[in-house]
């Protein structure tokens, strides 16, 4: 990644939430806010909420009641995820400690969300709250609404279709936890999304449901305006770069789909292989019981095969839990990205249509009407945001896939190493000459 933040692109229109001063940004952006115009009403609104309602009865316990980890070790854990280029991170979020809640109406799992931050947007340096899946879902919807020009990371699937999956099994919960953790970390890494008010509320509010009910319409100016873009305009042609992205996403999604299918097939074959191995090993034991001198060697072979079976089981479990979900996540990601592209098209279409309408009116007025200008701004902002996000996404994708595939290779290497150890250890046993009778 070349630069940390996407450079602020020149814009003539009113400032979006994006231009809110980043604590670490250079003085230029601060000037931009202070100098050019008064902060928009939206920003003020956001601010006031920040001042009043977010001072919640969090009590005096910053890191929550049931935290086994000390703050420093938590920090260490979070810092391991830091991969950005030297940028000083000031926000750390972790998802862990799933717990089952049994109520009269339903049973569900909550996860502990731990936040550490030095940002001014956070009143306390540390927060610890519990959230359930539908809270994440709420957050994502809100982000999509309020930041339509940005790529919002995907959530793990809501429902699991594959067979009868136990929603409360350790494996399922752990897989989901990892995905939710990834989700929040991606938002944390995003220079714009991480400052989103909804995100803040999600991380800090003791009672999220109260907030949901209040129906905080914390839409930014941009969000409002994009929301009102009617779908009636047809885009003549996508600009080349976006067309290229669109095509790329299509190819990417196809490829992902194929890789997902192959991975599933491999796991299936490995499981069937495992089934046979589990029958194979014990037969050597049965044979061993018949023999005299051969009893030990045969028993040894049986144990060896048993060890290999266990190693194989570990491999398939790992692949199922760690590999497949990430692939699926990226499929969801590219789907939502394509939607954002479409929205962008809408914005451009509206602008072009209005522009054309003006041109057709054949008036001599040199000045372009305000609303057309607004459309142009909208479009340019959208384009800028999108490009920046795509760039970021591309880098993250590369890292994610590199890690994913290296992880897959690693797991296979470990599997073979375990088997190798088992077989090598048995050779001396087999070669042992027994004492002559």
């Amino acid at each position: 990644m070349s630069g940390g933040l996407p450079k602020a692109l020149p814009s003539t229109g009113p400032h979006s939430l994006r231009d809110m001063p980043h604590p670490l940004a250079g003085s230029s952006s601060e000037e931009a806010v202070g100098g050019d115009s008064t902060p928009s009403p939206d920003l003020l609104l956001a601010r006031s909420f920040a001042d009043k309602d977010l001072i919640l009865p969090n009590g005096g316990t910053p890191a929550g009641t049931s935290s086994p980890a000390s703050s420093s070790s938590l920090l260490n854990r979070l810092q391991l995820d830091d991969d950005l280029d030297g940028e000083t991170r000031d926000l750390f979020v972790t998802v862990d400690d799933p717990k089952k809640h049994v109520c009269t109406m339903e049973t569900y799992i909550t996860y502990r969300i731990t936040t550490k931050s030095t940002r001014v947007e956070f009143d306390l340096p540390e927060y610890s709250v519990r959230r359930r899946y539908q809270d994440f879902d709420w957050l994502r919807n809100k982000l999509e609404e309020s930041q339509p020009t940005h790529l919002i990371p995907p959530l793990p699937e809501k429902f699991v279709v594959k067979g009868v999956v136990d929603r409360f099994s350790e494996e399922f919960v752990e897989t989901r936890r990892k995905a939710l953790d990834k989700f929040l970390k991606r938002i944390t890494d995003h220079p714009v999304l991480s400052f989103n008010e909804h995100f803040n509320v999600f991380l800090t509010a003791k009672d999220l449901n109260a907030h949901k009910k209040q129906g905080m319409a914390l839409l930014t100016r941009m969000g409002e305006s994009v929301k009102h873009v009617t779908g009636g305009y047809k885009l003549r042609s996508r600009p080349l770069e976006f067309a290229a992205i669109g095509e790329y996403l299509d190819t990417f999604a196809l490829k992902l789909g194929t890789i997902d299918r192959i991975a599933q097939r491999i796991i299936k074959e490995e499981i069937e292989y495992l089934v046979e191995l589990r029958e194979y090993g014990p037969v050597y034991s049965t044979w061993s019981a018949l023999e005299g001198e051969l009893a030990e060697p045969l028993e040894g072979v049986s144990a060896c095969i048993g060890n290999c079976s266990t190693a194989l089981e570990e491999l398939t479990d790992d692949m199922t839990e760690d590999f497949l979900p990430v692939l699926r996540e990226y499929v969801l990601y590219s789907d939502s990205m394509k939607n954002v592209l479409k929205k962008r098209d809408q914005v451009q279409a509206e602008y072009e249509a209005k522009l054309e309408a003006v041109a057709l009116r054949k008036e001599d007025r040199p000045k372009v009407p305000a609303d057309v200008e607004k459309c142009q701004d909208r479009m340019e902002c959208f384009n800028a945001d999108l490009k920046a996000d795509m760039e970021r996404w591309q880098n993250n994708k590369r890292q994610d896939f590199r890690q994913l595939l290296m992880g897959m290779a690693d797991k296979n290497i470990q599997y073979y190493e375990k088997c190798l150890t088992a077989w090598e250890s048995i050779i001396p046993l087999l070669q042992e000459r027994q004492e002559a009778k």
């Binding site: 770069e241 290229a244 051969l294 599997y415 088997c419 077989w423």
Partner: protein, 477 residues
């Protein structure tokens, strides 16, 4: 009588039944260098080589070729069969050159004939088994077709192994029919039939009968029979499951080949176009898109080379499983050996039953005699009945009958004695060969397990290598 070098001891003893042993009894098997699966029969052979000078020549046997033939069978119908070339070489001295002395073609049925003959003439020997007639325990990649070249090749090796086993057996190696099998192409079948061995064969029915009715078999044989039943069952099971395991393993490896294909697809035309667009100057100011396309290219390259390794992985399974077939063949030999063990046990049961019947017959005759002599009728007999009905016989008649009985009794006692002796000889010799067999089995199977473990180790190492290479490619993404 356990000689220090067991083989040597047995070689000097005459075999108990009709020895058609070749006086030129220097048949010593040395495994052909090309033959797969070096057998440990070498070990006793080596001993005899160095310690025994009166073996005039050593012979090397190999089944070197297999050929498809067509000919006319007994019913004058066209048939296709495979013929195997058997070459015999004699070696003048230990490290000397071998000279081809005999070479002839035999088909599977002739091997069967040889074995059946040996079974009849050496019932106390655990006769080596033939490789399977039809392919069994196949998994999907293997063919069940007898004409399939792989099957023929494995059978060739199996037949060579069969001949080597016989040649290294201290008793069987001296058999004349075996010698002729190796040396006399024409007329050999007739020679075998002329021995009349088929007449000597025990009927299956007789053997079955004996199995059920024998009262006092040697416990060791009963145990051995039980063992061979269990052995047969467990090895069958093992081979069946192993075949399924091989099948599944094949599937796992081959499916990885799909990764190879997909990873390489990134180099397709469409992908190139996309990269070209991304490279275009339209992108405008900001982070250069050459970065984007550079990333894509690097990812693509990394993936492609990883794909190559996945292909290597997928194709490596063919050799691995081919080697494993050899292990399966070693197990199969002992599966079939179980039957040979059972045959020896059956023979013992038959002899024992024969003995018991003879003893019983003798006892009843003696009793009859006694009754006649003393005039008491203790047991029911037809004679007694008719006596009651039609009157007693005359003293002359009785005398005559007693005399006949006494002759029969004396004959019977002789027979019983010789049968007893025979039986004991059989037990002694059979047990000696069984001990020899047990040691051979333990040696061979241990070797087989070791080579199996070695195969697995090699497979694991290859796997580690391939995935390490792939990992390196991924790391360059």
């Amino acid at each position: 009588m356990e000689p220090a070098t067991p083989d040597l001891g047995r070689l000097l003893q005459p075999s108990p039944l009709e020895p058609l042993g070749h006086t030129d009894a220097g048949l010593e098997a040395v495994v052909d260098e090309d033959a797969e699966g070096v057998r440990d029969e070498d070990v006793p052979g080596d001993q005899t080589m160095t310690e025994n000078n009166f073996w005039l020549k050593k012979i090397e046997i190999s089944v070197s070729e297999a050929e498809k033939r067509t000919g006319r069978n007994a019913m004058n119908m066209q048939e296709t069969y495979t013929a195997y070339l058997i070459e015999t070489r004699s070696v003048e001295h230990i490290d000397g050159p071998s000279v081809l002395t005999d070479s002839l073609w035999r088909r599977y049925s002739e091997f069967e004939l040889l074995r059946n003959y040996l079974l009849v003439y050496y019932p106390h020997v655990v006769v080596p088994p033939l490789p399977e007639k039809r392919a069994e325990f196949v998994w999907h990649k293997l063919s069940a077709d007898n004409m399939d070249p792989d099957f023929v090749e494995r059978r060739r090796i199996g037949l060579e192994n069969f001949l080597l086993r016989i040649a290294s057996h201290p008793i069987l190696c001296r058999d004349k029919i075996f010698y002729l099998f190796l040396t006399q192409e024409g007329n050999w079948k007739e020679t075998v039939y002329e021995t009349g061995f088929q007449l000597k064969a025990d009927s299956r029915l007789k053997a079955l009968n004996a199995t059920f009715r024998v009262k006092n078999p040697d416990k060791r044989f009963t145990e051995l029979k039980h063992y061979s039943d269990e052995l047969q069952s467990v090895i069958s099971h093992l081979l069946r499951v192993r075949a399924r395991v091989a099948d599944r393993l094949y599937g796992v490896y081959k499916v990885h080949g799909n990764y190879g294909r997909v990873f390489r697809e990134g180099k397709g035309k469409k992908h190139q176009c996309v990269i070209a667009f991304l490279h275009a100057p339209y992108w405008g100011p900001g982070p250069q898109l050459s970065e984007w396309s550079a990333i894509e290219k690097e990812m693509g390259d990394g993936l492609q080379s990883a794909g190559h390794h996945m292909d290597v992985y997928a194709s490596s399974i063919d050799d691995i499983l081919e080697d494993e077939e050899h292990y399966a063949d070693q197990l199969k030999e002992y599966l079939f050996y179980a039957e040979a063990l059972r045959a020896v046990c059956r023979k013992h049961e038959l002899m024992q039953y024969d003995l018991e019947m003879a003893a019983q017959d003798l006892a009843s005759k003696k009793q009859q005699c006694e009754e006649l002599a003393t005039g008491t009728v203790r047991t029911f007999s037809l004679k007694g009945m008719t006596t009651k009905l039609f009157g007693q016989e005359t003293p002359e008649q009785r005398e005559a009958r007693i005399k006949v009985l006494e002759e029969q009794i004396s004959e019977g006692e002789q027979q019983l004695k010789s049968k007893n002796l025979e039986g004991r000889e059989f037990v002694k010799n059979a047990w000696a060969d069984i001990e020899r067999f047990k040691e051979q089995k333990n040696r061979d199977l241990k070797e087989a397990l070791i080579s199996y473990a070695v195969m697995q180790i090699s497979m694991c190492k290859k796997g580690i290598q391939v995935w390490t290479n792939a990992k390196e490619c991924f790391s360059k993404m």
